[in-house]
């Protein structure tokens, strides 16, 4: 697996052979690939944060008419801290929602709104099909898309949404599957 096409790139969202461990990792299970959402998909909250700072700056001109300087200081302090908390919350959301491809399985770790945890995994031997969905100008330009791993029977399917270099990631899964099935 050392001869992969892409090396670790795209701001920690596509990490080949990372030094990562996860809580359900088995002995001898090696992590080959760690995926996060492409940084471009985070543009929404980044732009919102900038907009909030602009709104706060502009609102200071009007606040002077209603509050005294001490109160304006408290209001500014609150809003700045809330904006930074919003940024940090989104960074955590992005950082801990990962897809992991190991020597034994494919795992999707999701934290919804930081508070709810969901871990889905598919053993390599149970994988039936992998699909890549990528379309549109932006996804093509930045080379990101979604990977759907279909498993046999009633086992849950695994999805990696908006990950960078999806074709390369699927290639890695296919190589592992070939190795597993001895092709």
């Amino acid at each position: 697996m050392e001869n992969n096409i892409k090396k670790s790139s795209t701001f920690y969202s596509y990490c080949v052979n990372p030094q990562t461990k996860f809580d359900t990792q088995e002995d001898g299970e090696k992590v080959y690939l760690l995926l996060r959402s492409h940084p471009f998909t985070q543009i929404g909250w980044i732009m919102s944060s900038i907009l909030f700072f602009i709104i706060l700056f502009i609102s200071n001109f009007f606040l002077q008419n209603f509050f005294n300087p001490g109160q304006i200081f408290i209001i500014n302090l609150f809003f700045i801290v809330i904006i930074f908390s919003y940024i940090w919350f989104n960074i955590l959301n992005w950082y801990f929602n990962v897809g992991i491809i190991t020597s034994k399985r494919v795992i999707d770790i999701d934290f919804y709104a930081v508070l709810y945890k969901e871990i889905t995994n598919a053993q390599l031997g149970r994988i039936e099909d992998t699909t890549v969905k990528s379309g549109g100008y932006i996804e093509s330009f930045f080379d990101y898309g979604s990977i759907f791993v279909q498993t046999a029977g009633t086992e849950a399917n695994v999805e990696f949404i908006d990950v960078p270099h999806p074709s390369d990631a699927v290639q890695i899964i296919n190589k592992l599957l070939s190795k597993k099935h001895g092709f």
């Binding site: 996860f22 809580d23 005294n68 609150f78 919350f89 508070l115």
Partner: protein, 70 residues
Amino acid sequence: MDFKDIIFKVIILLASVFYYLYALVISKQVKIMNKTLEDEHNKFILFVTSLQVTASLIILIIVLLSIFFL
């Protein structure tokens, strides 16, 4: 002290208490997330989260002081 000032102080006190509780919940959850996924940046994430809790506590103190002095 007029009615507007009292309302303002009640609102900022409630907001700072809620923000402190929020920061505590987030820090607890970050510890769980760090256990779930151990990575090279975990220490930095824990550091920033503890900064958030500290900031929320400082804000709570500032708000309590401002209630008496503003």
